[in-house]
């Protein structure tokens, strides 16, 4: 891998769903490149395939045909076990509804991905603390999700996504359930992670205001991308 190798390369990517005998095509022969350090806002009407795209990039769904390359290596033909390993090492996920474990505290939720590493308990604790500090939620480390507001839960979820130091963050409508002010705080945090820590972020959003935090917007419609560079 050299610096010239893009983070993601999609080649001739197609995704079809069979509904009965009828095939619905979401993407057809899609090509796309995402470079290191990018922050992309993926927009488009409901049902246009935004979540499907994230799933393909995150290795939790496989394309019908075509290639997904990550740092030059194909991930679309990996087995389930290899994909799980690859995800644990390279990708952080952020969901619209946070998806924290209700029985665990904020700190324990953040620790989850570290259980997949060989780090000692002490080292894990340090990393959890750092991640919680970065998203500014250390004071709620011992709280359970039920005791946290939506914005706070999303901060914990972001801490969980970055704790294992992945290269890319995939966020599906991360502010879709939050009010404007809270959404702005979360987006600022994501922007910080992108600018200061060099995380590549691909964020699905319906909200044009949210998209402004990204470096570029990608409009998905009828299986095609329309690009728009932002200042």
């Amino acid at each position: 891998m050299t610096d010239a190798t893009p983070l993601y390369e999609l080649k001739g990517l197609s995704k079809r769903y069979m509904r009965g005998r009828e095939a619905t095509t979401i993407f057809d022969q899609l090509d796309m490149t995402i470079s290191h350090g990018d922050f992309i806002a993926v927009m488009g009407p409901s049902g246009s395939g935004k979540t499907t795209l994230l799933n393909l990039l995150g290795g939790i769904d496989a394309p019908s045909s075509g290639e997904v390359r990550f740092e030059g290596a194909r991930i679309d033909n990996l087995g389930q076990g290899q994909l799980a390993k690859w995800r644990a090492a390279n990708v952080g996920f952020i969901f619209q509804f946070y998806n924290l474990m209700p029985t665990l505290t904020a700190a324990q939720n953040v620790e989850m991905p570290l259980l997949l590493t060989k780090l000692s308990a002490g080292e894990r604790k340090k990393r959890v603390k750092t991640a919680l500090d970065i998203v500014g939620i250390s004071d709620r480390a011992g709280h359970r999700p039920r005791q946290l507001s939506g914005g706070q839960q999303q901060r914990v979820a972001i801490a969980r996504a970055i704790v294992a130091d992945p290269k890319v963050l995939l966020a599906d409508e991360p502010t879709g359930d939050l009010d404007r002010a809270t959404a702005d705080e979360i987006l600022q945090t994501l922007q910080l992670l992108n600018k200061d820590m060099g995380k590549t972020i691909i964020m699905v959003t319906h909200d044009p205001a949210a998209a402004k935090y990204a470096r570029r917007e990608l409009h998905l419609d009828k299986g095609r991308f329309v690009e728009k560079e932002l200042a």
């Binding site: 939790i60 390993k85 996920f93 998806n99 474990m101 029985t103 324990q108 259980l115």
Partner: protein, 385 residues
Amino acid sequence: MNDLTLVRKNLFRKKLRAVLLMVSILIAFLIFGVLGAVQNAFSFGVNTAAQERLVTVNRVNFTVPLPYAYWGRIQQVDGVRDVAPASWFGGYYQQPQNFIQAFAVDPASYLAVYPEMVVPADQRAAFIEGRTCALAGRALATQYGWSVGDRIPLMSNIWRQTDGSEAWDLDICGVFDDLEGTYPTNYLIFHYDYFNESLAYGRDSFHWMTLTTVDPARNDEVSQAIDELFANSRAETATSTEAAFNAAFMEQFGNIGLILGLVVSAAFATILMIVGTTMVMAVNERTKEIAVMKTLGFPAPRIFRMVLGESLLLSLLGGLIGLGLAWLAVSGAGAAMAGVMPGIALTTPTMLTALGLMLVFGLVTGLLPAMNAMRVRIALALGKI
């Protein structure tokens, strides 16, 4: 935090549900432990020695006596080593409720065929010498507070003496223990001669004879020879191993093993279904969380193990508490019932079986939810909001 933390937290996420499941498993193992201890009492005394000893009784059944002369004749049979004749003395002490298991025996030969009975040498000699001597088992002596030197009147509700009395005065000349914990000490033996000479009726007969052979390998041959010797006589005999005789005796109470087995199986089957379906539902409720764990990179086999671990933990917790309670119940009841029903005890094999059952129970109830969890498809599960 480690995987076990997650397993524990998931199991106790709904405390009431987990506790109820645990209690139902606990009940199954409590039943298993207690009934296992009772069954042990029924098979008590069937040790290897019992497999190698023979018992000769009247072919009709063991309540019909055999003539005294058979003792001498059986001793003549080739391959026989020791023959111990005995008569059943349905006795009681002070009140008819205090039932005492007592046998009128030939002291020397009886002790010769029952090496499991451990008696100090001086007491052994005194017992064999003294015509009115009795040798009491430890459990029986403890129950009634008898010690060596005591004189006790033993009443019979079967026999009567020529003078009309129903009481035989016996001297406790010794107390026998059992060395290996495999032989009952809840009975007493006394001299056949003393018993026989005072009888108003039914003299010069025995209920059974216990015998040993020079080589257990010849047992079949010797049994046959004895039964052939008395074939076509007025009192034909039936000779079998003591173990088989005991088993036939216990059959009088019904097939205890089968009944206990059915009760335990019914309890287990019911609770297995309850716990199994509950665990399936509990894990289905968490489909989305499992999908999230998979998204984070938890491999499917690890998720399988963690979900299986929940059922195993549940089964072990409930099972061990149940077995512990069974142990408490059995040691309490066992002490109180030592005289009537010796051998009520939770034995190591029973406890190991219980432990094995706990593992099987945990695996069986956890297998389906664990497979479901392992098969959760991330994209589909996360789509379900």
